[in-house]
């Protein structure tokens, strides 16, 4: 009998030892990969970056930049009344930090200088966007949650101006990295330039110009701007536009289009703020930007935020909406355009007297915009504007600001809104002046007349989860470069 017991014990022990061995090997998730190649991570980062830019920023900015306004059929929303909720931007931060920037960080650490350069340029691009909307944000110890990175789970917030300084340096790093590349490291996974690294260098420098010019009212950037213009390697034609294409089929649609169509569709109509300017300037782009109202047969808009004053019986077909160039499944997401850079150069020439010819740069900006929209005769239009390099700087900035804002309509709405905030100063209230400003005060604004949003609120998720986050902002808090 004892023999039997012994056997049973031995058998149990054997079974036990066999099955204990290799237990940790089971704990590998068969559905997820412990590693990834930079190619696929680059695609992922660009996908998320495009979502943030197009569906988060531009979708808000077409309203606050007063290109489009709330149309009939849906009760007036918060953002049409300048009311913000703390959870408006939870999704934006999740995509920007936990996806795009986290993926880009993986790339910046790649030994291949091509991937690290592209990673750094896009990192700078996204951080600039975060600063331009939120001011102080986590930067220097953000994205360091991994144990190997020091387990920084609640990053501190950095001063917005300091982040700007760091972004210039980060882009310098990227350009240095690019100098070490052979040029053929990246291919189709680069959804912006298809692996053309010379375009990335151009984009990086153009981004430096944007970052510098953004603070031109508050910091001394003259020398650096002059140098960039001097070097001349800036986006200067449509082939160099930093943009990402979409197939226009389900799953691969323009993010703004997909987002709006997944709900009740595009119910926004043309804002009179935009129509008034285009009409006053006799701007031929008006027809490229807005369709005629189907029920009326001509372009009809609504004063910003005033749809509730329209007849109750009004329907969407009584008004104009954006054309297919501005809203469509296959439209690209434009990160940076040649017209944007030409207007930056015109402004730099006006402010600092750079190597560029100011009037030419201005005309090139308009021509680039006309070209993209397929509108003829930019020259005649530019001539009609009568840009005078001898006029006062305020007068020239007013003209550049207006043209830049028009050129961003429907394509880079967010850049249009941001630059409107910057160009508009107490001494030169181009947009917000109650009598002559371009912007209209929405009828049911929660802010005072002539007061428009200057920022986003911090996301509620970040406020509740990060004890280091500063006190909540309000909509009129200005970003450091905003006078």
């Amino acid at each position: 009998m004892m023999n039997l017991i012994n056997k049973i014990f031995l058998f149990s022990l054997a079974l036990f030892l066999v099955s204990c061995d290799g237990l940790p090997d089971l704990n590998v998730d068969p559905d997820e990969s412990p590693s990834a190649r930079p190619q696929e991570v680059l695609t992922s980062a660009l996908g998320y970056a495009a979502w943030v830019q197009e569906s988060r920023y531009n979708e808000q900015a077409f309203l606050w930049g007063q290109y489009w306004t709330w149309g009939p059929g849906v009760s007036l929303g918060n953002d049409a009344r300048y009311v913000a909720e703390p959870d408006d931007h939870n999704n934006l931060w999740a995509r920007a930090y936990s996806n795009a920037l986290a993926d880009l960080r993986f790339l910046t650490q790649n030994e291949d200088p091509a991937y690290s350069a592209v990673g750094k340029i896009m990192t700078a691009y996204i951080y600039q966007g975060l600063v331009d909307h939120f001011g102080d944000v986590p930067y220097s110890n953000a994205l360091l949650g991994e144990i190997a990175d020091g387990s920084v789970l609640t990053p501190e917030y950095d001063d917005a101006a300091t982040i700007y300084v760091n972004l210039i340096a980060l882009l310098d790093d990227a350009l240095t990295d690019l100098d070490r590349t052979a040029g053929n490291e990246i291919h189709g996974e680069d959804l912006i330039f298809g692996g053309d690294l010379s375009h990335w260098a151009t984009f990086g420098k153009s981004l430096q110009l944007r970052i510098l010019m953004r603070q031109s009212g508050v910091a001394d950037v003259e020398r650096e701007v002059e140098q960039l213009v001097q070097e001349g390697d800036l986006i200067h034609n449509s082939a160099e536009i930093a943009q990402m294409a979409f197939a226009g089929t389900s799953g691969d649609e323009n993010p703004m289009y997909a987002s709006m169509e997944s709900g009740i569709g595009n119910f926004y109509v043309a804002s009179n703020a935009s129509l008034n300017v285009l009409r006053a300037l006799n701007d031929p782009r008006i027809s490229a930007l807005y369709d005629v109202a189907p029920n009326i047969g001509e372009i009809v808009g609504v004063d910003q935020g005033s749809i509730d004053n329209e007849p109750f019986t009004a329907v969407r077909e009584d008004y104009s909406q954006g054309t297919a160039v501005t809203y469509g499944p296959g439209n690209p997401v434009i990160f940076m355009s040649d017209w944007e850079v030409w207007f930056l150069r015109a402004e730099a020439a006006a402010r600092f007297g750079t190597a560029d010819d100011e009037a030419t740069a201005f005309a090139n900006g308009i021509a680039a915009s006309f070209a993209y929209l397929g509108v003829a005769n930019p020259g005649g239009y530019t001539a009609s504007l009568g840009y005078d390099t001898g006029a006062s700087i305020d007068e020239r900035l007013r003209m550049i600001a207006t043209q830049k804002w028009i050129a961003m309509n429907g394509l880079q709405e967010d850049e249009g809104w941001i630059e409107a905030r910057r160009f508009d100063t107490p001494g030169n209230p181009i947009f917000t002046d109650l009598d002559n400003g371009i912007f209209q005060t929405p009828t049911r604004t929660a802010l005072a007349p002539g007061v428009h949003p200057s920022a986003f609120l911090y996301p509620e998720s970040e406020q509740s989860l990060n004890p280091n986050s500063p006190a909540q902002r309000i909509l009129t808090d200005k970003v450091f470069w905003d006078n």
């Binding site: 049973i8 936990s98 990053p155 189709g188």
Partner: protein
Amino acid sequence: MKRLNLVFLLLLAVVSFSYAQRTVSGTITDQEGEPLIGASILAKGTTTGTVTDFDGNYALEVPEGTTELEFSYTGFATQTLALGASNVLDVKMSEGLLLDAVVVSATGLDRNARDVTYHNQTVKSDDLLTVPSKNSLEALRGKVAGVKLSTGSGSVGASTRIVLRGEGSLTGDNNALIVVDGIVIDNEASLGGTDADEGGASTGYADYGNRFNDINPEDIESITVLKGPSATSLYGSRGASGVLLITTKKGSKGGRLRVGINSTTSFEQAYVLLQRQDRYGQGFGLPFSETPSFDSGENWSWGPEFDGVVRPWTSPIDSDGDGDLEFLSRPYSAVPNQLENFFRTGRTLANSINLSGGNEKVTYYASYSNTTQEGILENTDYNRNTVKFASSAKFSKRLSTNFSVSYANVVQNSAQEGSRPFEGQNAYANAVQSPVNIPFTELRDYNSPFHDFGGYYGSYTSNPYYILNEFINEGRIDNFLGTFSTTLNIIDGLDLTARIGTNVVDRTIREATAQYAYADHYVWADNLVASTRGGRANSPGFFSQTEGTNSNLDVTGLLNYSRALDRSGALSLNVTLGYNNFTRTTRSVTGSTVGGIIVPEFYNLANSVQAPLASQSSSKYRIIGGFANAQIGYQNRLFLEYSARNDWSSTLQAENNSFFYQSVGVSSVVTDFFENRNENIDYVKFRASIGTTGKDAQLYALQSTFIGNPIFQPLANGRDLTFPLNGQAGFTLGNSIGNPDLKPELTTTFEIGVDATLFKDRVDLAYTYYNSRHTNQLVEVSLPNSSGFTRTVRNLGEISNQGHELSLTIRPIKGLVKGLTWDLDLIWSTNQNEVIEILDPAVDGEELTLGTFGGVAVVAREGLPYGTFRGNVVATTDAGETIVDAQGLPIQTERPEDLGSYQPDWLGSVGSRIGYKGLVLNFLFDIRQGGKFLSYTKDLTEFNGTALTTVERFRDAFVFPNSFTEVEEGYQVENTTMTNRYDFLRVQPFSSHLIDASFVKLREIGLTYNVPARFTEGIFISNLTVGLFARNVMFWLPEENVWADPEINGPSLTGNATGIETTQTPPSRSFGINIGVKF
């Protein structure tokens, strides 16, 4: 023919005949002469027997050769009496042996109740089935101390969450482990729906129930609730949140074939707890205008005051093609019982049959059951078929086996729950937010031209009946459970038991959104001006199918040795050594259409506009345990028990994956130490135990990973944005930080208690105090996005749970009136939960967020109960006046504040059973005091103007009372700015939706009549029972709760951020009849 034949086939009648020589009859009573109903009488050495009727009478045809009769009755000593010359044999049976009742121990072996050193409570089949329930977990409500149950929905087949003694794990699974006949079953809830991956919070989810639902309640013999860690040594890590031990029916040795048939029919009506205003109708006004406008397309009820004037309420359409427009009209007034009439009357039909029998060598039990339910929502139904076969055999003196297989098939048509009516998936949320003048009874005909896509009134919603009838949320479950155990008696006192069980759950979930396109429609405005309105959301159609299998294999070996240690037998020893290996494998594959479907109403992946999307997931988990348990008894009245266990888990690194824990307990039946004790003290047992339990980590938490080709933005209506993008694959860094250093979680529990029977069996009392400390907590931490991640799992913190559990049964009139019995059951428990410490240098702020919803976070915070709500509140001055802004609206505090938790102060129940002869009346009240829940229904109805809170002050402009404007820090002036009700409600912090979750519920009333045997004599019926019952008869809620049932929470059913209500289907009140026949 004298032997019973046994055939191993289901539903095959087994009949026994015996040659009767004589008939013996008599009456069986207790010591006081009370008849004992249902006592067993067995002709010794045969399988022939009978039971007494409710007068205690029996008559048995005794087979030839029988010399003795055996009399037995639960709780009484079994007596064997020799047959004399007389054919009348009256028996007076002795009680007291109740104390020797057998309980199921943690090792799955039967044990004498008196030597158990920890608290355990067993609910018998009869108590579970007093009133039929939709599942056995529901039937436990109010019957066990320290059990907290919450339900995912009032819809058919929904999940039930069960937590014993409060949550002990910060972010792990706090559900009790469910063990059927020694085998751990898979109790995972099956969720589906458009947003199941994210807990269904944002768009919707469908609840296909947890798998315990698949068990036929009639098959359950008893449910034992084990709470302390000394009770969970067999299940180790997995049993750390407590164990529900289910013992199923096996068939008794008592002779002949027994057949039981049970049939229940009941009707369910929605118990709508939401109260809505009935003064203002469809339209819009505030905040845009003080004069409201009528708008027949609105989902808002901010329109004009009701005036009773007949107006059109459907969109004008040309329904007959004559070129003129037609519409339906009704008086502009609130529809009475509007929401109640949104639902239909549900119906449940449950039938079951079981056969059982056996002899000394073999027992068997077979059953079949069918439950068919039609839910209170249209096109929701539930159909469950179960078969079970169990048998035990004793092959020799030394070898015996138990064998059981059961299979359940469930087909369920569900409806989506969740908070977002705009996406058009949750029909009830859609109903909740419709104006109060819309008659649902008419909308039900959703194909009518007045209610289809052209005529339907709403500009922003779809006809909820269209959603219910044309969308598909179908779950099919196949659940197989097989167990086999064999016990070899090696030498006297030494038994070796091997047990193997497998539970395979296969699920197929099909979900479809219909394809539809709206035309522009007409709406009516003020003065009945009609105009067209377009832009209603269209659906390209969507279909997905998930096929998944969870396989669980549970292998146990037990070596049990028991013997007397000395010659007199005063000292006894019992030692158990055990080994357990549990492996769980899951895999599932989901296919879904992309870009819509081509052919409407054809739901197949081949019908996808673009190439369908496939995704798969699988996992494997293993835990191995070795354990030992030793017990020494002295004179069967003093017991000392020690147990130790080591677990090895696959979820931890090799250096951390082994964890050891142990427990020690002592119990003493003190009344046995006194020869001449007070006659009012029948039995008193004290018990005390202390022990630890470990808990391993969740799967795959050790390593950060990349996710291949994710959906990078989920969007409704088939518009998810996904990789590959432009033909390029995308891999994104996962959002969870891997933590290779995880260690097991440890719980230390101390408990003391007393079990007593007093006043000659008139009072039974069980009291337990416990104190648990949960250290090294494995916590899933939500992270700010700026960390680059959204979550991680870490060891941190400590939680304590301490509480009291009391159950008291009083039989106040015992023995006073012949035939009249009255039992009163009182159960009360309280649990104090506190998060003691959150320790991690990487987490500041002594706080963890479990989940957030609309700006209110559910957190674990030092010094506060687990599950505390935190959110901003209305800011006040030092003197308590409300601070308002320039618009006269209250402003919110800058930082969130603590706002109470979802933990109740106490839970209790009062049950009573009054019996006279064969008639039994019972009722059960269930009480919860304290705790809060967050009501999304409140938010939704305040937004759309149907909430009662929207009609205060008749919607007139008002100055917020006792409010001040802060001119500068610390200096305030009285506010005189008028505000309006809409803006006022909209600026309220989301925390204003926190509602007192207390309730009193009259859970059950039942009236059962046991038909006297004399009426059924001669028709082979040994017992006939007819019962009428009602469930959820009445709820009493706090005055502030006009919103929802606090017990229905979602969507994270097994998660911990409960206490959030998102317009789930309400509960139902049911009335039914039950007939039980035994042959």
